[in-house]
């Protein structure tokens, strides 16, 4: 188990370094930020000074080396736009994004798995078919358009919910969270639901497919032959079997939710890292882009690792480092 963990760690560091190089190369090719930040009437000397100040006059590999050294120590350079350390800018906005992603995921799981179970157990009933139809719609709706419609309906038309920003926050263990206040919840409602919709539909479909296969298995028949109640047969025997692939998916989708938050944050003006990224791309604020990407990559690696661990805990047939996991 320890050997496996060390090996994974090694692989992760390798991926991280590789990504940092790719990211740096890619971002290096984006226009010339100096043009954006410097007064268009500035003369050549101004430009040169600005370039030097931002370290952009050095050869590519030297820039990368400076960057790598800094990155290892947590210093990604200063934002061209805000002139504060890029990393602190990201970390500042990260809690808002994580809160949004987390709440969205919770909504998707709490609604998706039970609905999927119902659809899988009674696929030909009205409820089953309605749920499936609903999930296809939810799966097909483009997230950004749903956001627009939500704003149209609940903000413009009905005036029930605010359409942008984050509500009041309270500090929990040094991190500001907004779901503990009524105002915060009102602001969270639409963006979180918007973000959750796609994953919700995905989970419903997955749970339904898994349930449909599971109930055909012999162990379900055997459980019924033992005289177990239907609640126990479904709630224990079936559920534990279908949860395994679902948990894997949830874990992997968590990363995707954080990425998709970019869109939701743009629409609802939610002050998270996603919005920061879009703004940075438009303003060619390179250090921020790079810092964002590397923080996200690290986050994904951690999530993948945790999911693998969870998977081995849930499925007794899989032990890490031994036989290959049945992905």
């Amino acid at each position: 188990m320890l050997a496996y963990a060390i090996r994974r760690l090694g692989q992760s560091v390798f991926v991280l370094v590789l990504m940092s190089f790719l990211v740096f190369v890619g971002v290096y090719a984006i226009g010339n930020p100096v043009e954006l930040l410097v007064n268009p009437q500035a003369d050549e000397a101004e430009r040169l000074r600005a370039t030097a100040a931002l370290g952009l006059d050095k050869p590519f590999l030297e820039q990368y080396w400076i960057f790598l050294k800094g990155a290892a120590g947590g210093d990604f350079g200063k934002s061209f736009v805000f002139n504060v350390p890029a990393l602190s800018l990201i970390l500042d906005k990260l809690p808002a994004t994580i809160e949004l992603a987390f709440v969205a995921m919770v909504i998707a799981v709490l609604l998706g798995i039970p609905l999927g179970l119902v659809a899988g157990l009674k696929p030909d009933s009205f409820a089953g078919r309605a749920i499936m139809a609903g999930s296809i719609v939810g799966f097909s709706l483009p997230t950004f358009w749903v956001g627009l419609v939500l704003i149209m309906a609940f903000s413009v038309h009905l005036g029930w919910l605010p359409s942008n920003g984050r509500g009041e926050t309270v500090m929990v263990a040094g991190i500001p969270v907004s779901f503990l206040t009524a105002d915060g919840l009102a602001h969270l409602a639409m963006p979180a639901f918007n973000l959750a919709l796609f994953k919700l539909s995905l989970l419903i479909r997955l749970t339904r497919a898994g349930t449909r296969e599971a109930v055909l298995q012999d162990y379900v028949k055997f459980a019924r032959a033992k005289g177990l109640s239907q609640t126990r047969v479904i709630g224990v025997h079936v559920l534990k079997n279908i949860l395994i692939p679902i948990v894997t998916v949830i874990g992997l989708e968590l990363g995707s939710v954080i990425a998709f938050a970019i869109v939701t944050e743009s629409i609802f003006a939610w002050p998270g890292t996603g919005k920061l990224l879009i703004d940075s791309i438009n303003q060619l604020d390179r250090p921020v882009i790079v810092a964002y990407l590397l923080v996200i990559v690290t986050l994904f690696i951690v999530i993948n690792f945790v999911v693998d661990l969870l998977y081995s805990l849930l499925d007794p047939r899989v032990r890490l480092g031994g036989a290959a996991a049945a992905h």
Binding site: I30, A133, S140, F144, W145, M152, V156, G255, I281
Partner: protein, 295 residues
């Protein structure tokens, strides 16, 4: 009841597909949408990108209102006076075109690499699959975003971004199927007969890997269209001169709060209809082609 063994596999496939009325409805809608996309220049009441045809005094008219010269704008106009209906027709054309083109290219690349990886095995396989794994562990939207930030705007650039994001699914699907098929005896037999490797791969291995691939490809077209719309909405990818549905929606966003919803709403409906139709068809395809649900 006809004798089942007398039907060919194609007839049986059609019959099984038709068991779902939803899927048939989806197919019908899809055919209609493709027809609109192909015929857009012919059937649109107005060419919204021909500046000579626009009258800025007609801007922001609500659906159903008439223009100064008596034409009805069935879905209203946008801030430049462009007819929404025509805009949607042209937008469908671009959205569908980009989606299908990128899927086709991604499919070709993924198919080639997947087959190569499965057939040759060894370090080739490991290399290809490592790249696939790393790429698939990152959300498509993130990769596409960064790529477009680097590459800039243009139809070709967004196709490149979409292809880059998609090829890995195909490669992985093909490789799994091919690995299973490779173990089977008919490949062994083909080898024993000393058939050329290319021939084995294309004539024998490939056709048996196709069913799961068809399902994946169909779903992916929908994903590609949705992804392109999202990227255009965020201002990346397609230039203003070739607006897809995503860009139309983005244009309308600023007018939402003042109640002029139709500029964003109707293109969104068109987008939704397209994606949903594709998903319905893909779902039924998957059920029909899935051996484990055979009863």
């Amino acid at each position: 009841m006809g004798n089942p063994s007398a039907e060919g596999p194609w007839a049986r496939f059609r019959a099984e597909f038709a068991e779902s009325r939803l899927a048939l409805a989806g197919l019908a809608v899809l055919v209609a949408i493709i027809a609109i996309a192909l015929l857009a220049p012919v059937i649109s009441p107005q060419n919204p990108y021909d500046l000579a045809q626009l009258d800025v005094l007609d801007s922001k008219l609500a659906p159903g209102e008439k223009s100064a010269d008596g034409r009805t704008y069935w879905l209203g106009t946008d801030d430049q006076g462009r007819d929404m209906l025509s805009g949607i027709f042209y937008g469908l054309r671009i959205s569908l075109g980009v989606g299908v083109a990128s899927t086709v290219f991604a499919l070709a690349i993924g198919l080639a690499l997947g087959l190569v990886a499965a057939y040759f095995g060894g370090w080739v396989d490991t290399l290809v699959m490592r790249v696939v794994d790393i790429q698939l562990s990152f959300p498509a939207i993130l990769i596409a975003l960064i790529l477009l930030a680097v590459l800039g705007q243009g139809v070709d650039k967004i196709v490149v971004a979409l292809v880059t994001v998609q090829w890995a699914y195909y490669a992985r699907t093909v490789r799994s199927s091919a690995l299973v098929e490779r173990q089977k005896e008919y490949i062994e037999a083909a080898r024993v007969l000393a058939l050329g490797q290319a021939r084995i791969v294309f004539r024998h291995l490939l056709p048996n890997c196709l069913p799961p691939l068809i399902v994946v490809a169909t779903v992916q077209v929908a994903h590609a269209i949705a992804l392109e719309a999202t990227l255009s909405f965020l201002g990346l990818g397609l230039p203003v001169t070739e607006p897809s549905l995503g860009l139309l929606i983005s244009n309308g966003f600023q007018y939402l709060l003042s109640g002029k919803y139709w500029i964003s709403f109707y293109p969104g409906i068109a987008l939704l209809a397209t994606i949903m139709a594709i998903n319905l068809v893909a779902d039924q395809l998957r059920d029909v082609l899935n051996p484990r649900l055979r009863r």
